[in-house]
Symmetry: C2
DNA sequence: CATAAGCTTACCGTTTACGTCAAGGTTAAG
DNA sequence: CTTAACCTTGACGTAAACGGTAAGCTTATG
């Protein structure tokens, strides 16, 4: 066995984690359910950039990184996005993050408003995509549910036709 | 130019189409937006079986076939299903169709009820898949909308800080 | 009936999204 | 300090989902 704990290992249960202990690729893999290969691949595509590296050049992931991985999984599995699309989606996120940063440094109220506008525009684009998907799915669901209710109707008709149901 | 109209071409606009004119692969391709290659590929995978063939062994598609193609597109684009998953999904549809057929021929009310049960079970499985996807998407949407409302709040704060807005 | 436009099967090429070694450096434990 | 267990970067392999091309048959028109 090797590689016990990489950074400041917080005794389990103390609840305090001022700066969370960075994770190895193996740990991230087991927590996210992805393989190590996949994590490296996502990095290669620019979807993910682990927070740091160890002295020996090992990848080190923060909790934020893990959250990003989860986000990627969501986009991939829920939306069926290609990794290229996810990349674009996440880049919008990143730009929002940069805007947030600029926002905090900006003192001029008008400038801050403009930044909010830009940020909202990015969010709206993402929302549109999602709502489109939802609408399609709801339509599909409706058609299936309609079938179920038709069957329910049929069923009551048939039950009335049945002579009796003793036993 | 060649291949004008394959079957009984209905004068446009009469509205009557007792049995619709079968379509060539080219026509199906242009109507569905898929390529001919893709249509053949889907057939190869067992997703699609054109209603018939011409004397010269040309594929002939019915309107039902076109509807099936649209269904496949929906499942692929909306649900992000793999073609293998779509195949399973459609097989459930097909089994339902067979059950419908059996249902019409069955006279015993009890037997018909049992068939309805089986059919409903198939539908429920499909519904579960869809609702799972919808739930995930709605959560994603909610988080984005929350951001928008936070921004709206911020915006009103900033507007109050602005001294004036003449011009 | 010749001929161009369309269709057929068959086969090879490509992109995406990884899996799978291979060769070699790193780290914790004995 | 050796060694087993991880890690690193290549490099090659592969399944899915088509794209493209070739060789040959079909069909509507001049």
């Amino acid at each position: 066995m090797a590689m016990a704990d990489v950074a400041c290992s917080d005794q389990a249960g103390t609840g305090r984690r001022r700066f969370s202990p960075l994770l190895t690729i193996e740990q991230v893999a087991s927590r996210t359910g992805l393989t190590k290969r996949t994590l490296r691949y996502y990095e290669e595509l620019g979807l993910l950039r682990p927070t740091g590296r160890s002295d020996g050049n090992y990848r080190l992931y923060s909790e934020d990184d893990v959250a990003r991985v989860e986000r990627i999984k969501e986009l991939r599995d829920l939306l069926g996005f290609s990794l290229a699309e996810i990349r674009a989606f996440l880049e919008a996120d990143d730009e929002r993050e940069q805007l947030r940063e600029a926002f905090r440094q900006e003192s001029d109220a008008e400038a801050r408003l403009a930044q909010l506008e830009r940020c909202d525009a990015l969010i709206q684009r993402q929302l549109q995509l999602i709502e489109q998907k939802i609408a399609g799915l709801e339509q599909l669901r409706a058609s299936l549910q309609a079938r179920l209710t038709r069957h329910a109707q049929r069923r009551t008709e048939l039950l009335q036709q049945l002579p009796s149901l003793d036993q």
